[in-house]
Chain length 273, copies 2
């Protein structure tokens, strides 16, 4: 039993797709979220840099006294999960293993597509995770560097988004995948468009949503779920940029009023570049 | 990476319903299974006794050098999970938390039925697990002491089974549950009959099958999944009784030829009473 909050971190608003699932599946748990909007996108950055930024975000949340850390960002999971698991005294969970397991459970023809940022795709983290469990599967990976900016600029259901998604995913036309992993927590906001382009026969795996199943299992395993009698402390949202656009997307996506606090760069000793 | 086997233990053949799911979802992993048929059913025994027997089974598997222990028995999970988690140097997983989580995820009307052995129902383990996550749910629990003997005597699709199941489950007639937890790993063998009696609108939760999702998550979390390049060591099945009936049910249920070895009581320092 542990009544402290669960920490979630992301490069921006993408991690909110994971939070949405947490609000649904774990209504009693308190949530602290930080999005590093001042330095997004993480996708094109080097893994060394992403690891450093991730460590800063994790330190920020640790100071708020969290009981578990969810790296609600695929790029950061690929770059920093092992590092943070080793360094932090609390359970740390990434989004790549849960997404990989879900894809393997769902595929019938053993042909799996993975879309993600350049960082995630370059890391081959999904391929490695999937093939380590079943080497007979075919994995087709595609970096989609244009997707995160669409979401962060709140254009995720615009005609531009439709055009960009259709053009990008043309890569899968002759790949015959029956399962596509949304290997970036921003992508579920583009889900209707992606589903439309891929066709209804392709199952989309939302890695972030799958991750909450793992979070829930680990809360039980370590016996740190919240006591149902304890009062729920208020959820808190932070962003390293101006909160206005964050609040807009967050309130829309989570269907609750979100008033994020600015996590000031100078207070956090974060460096912007 | 850890190429050792995962240990599964049960009072009898029920745990094989969990093994079947492991063979499906984790085809690379090696499995050691022991069923304590000489002393079943566990259901009517005291929790002190079940805890003692569980410890003996766990010791037997630990001597075979397993990397993880799955208590593939609800009665033993209720009585011995905490004890074994504390004593063993490897991850120990029970079937009750995964089943509870799955039920909460599936229910729409928040009325959940639980069936299990006398020991499991008396322990209130499911009720406690479910209500600790959502105290607004109604849980209706029923002990079904006649079900395990039906399965262990290989009568699980006989007319007698149909009659017994229908009579027993009459309890739920006016309870309006939309979800029923099969809170005993033997019950999935009675699943078609149970579904028929409850009606197709009631979702049945197979706790054992749900447990493999947690096993898979923990293999990843602790980084002890099997290396896909390593050769799979042979699965091994043990029973404390004569293997004949065990092999018959196991081969039928798992759709593979099973030749269990007798785990001799005197060698194991197990006491039969």
């Amino acid at each position: 039993m542990d009544n402290r909050a669960i920490g979630f971190m992301d490069s921006g608003v993408g991690g909110l797709t994971v939070v949405r699932e947490a609000l649904r599946q774990l209504p009693l748990e308190s949530i602290y979220f930080i999005g590093d909007q001042a330095r997004l996108p993480y996708g094109p950055r080097s893994s060394t840099e992403v690891r450093k930024f991730s460590e800063q975000m994790a330190t920020f949340l640790m100071k708020k006294d969290i009981k578990m850390l969810v790296i609600a960002c695929n790029t950061a999971t690929a770059a920093a999960l092992e590092d943070l698991k080793e360094k932090l005294p609390i359970p740390v969970i990434g989004v790549i293993s849960p997404g990989s397991r879900a894809a393997l459970k769902v595929t019938r023809n053993r042909r799996i597509g993975v879309i993600g940022t350049e960082g995630t795709i370059k890391s081959k983290a999904y391929e490695t995770a999937i093939l380590s469990k079943d080497s007979s599967v075919q994995v087709y990976s595609l970096a989609c560097p244009k997707f995160v900016p669409l979401v962060e600029s709140n254009e995720y259901d615009s005609p531009v988004a439709k055009k960009v998604v259709a053009e990008t995913l043309r890569y899968f036309e002759n790949k015959d995948v029956d399962t596509l992993v949304l290997g970036c927590t921003h992508y579920p906001l583009l889900r209707p468009i992606i589903q439309d382009v891929m066709g209804s026969q392709v199952k989309l795996i939302d890695s972030g949503a799958e991750t909450i199943g793992t979070v829930s299992a680990l809360l039980d395993y370590f016996d740190i779920a919240k006591n149902s009698n304890g009062e729920k402390s208020k959820d808190a949202y932070y962003t390293t940029a101006a909160p206005k656009s964050f609040n807009q997307i967050a309130s829309q996506w989570l269907q609750i009023k979100v008033a994020a606090q600015k996590a000031r760069i100078d207070q956090l000793h974060l460096e912007v570049n």
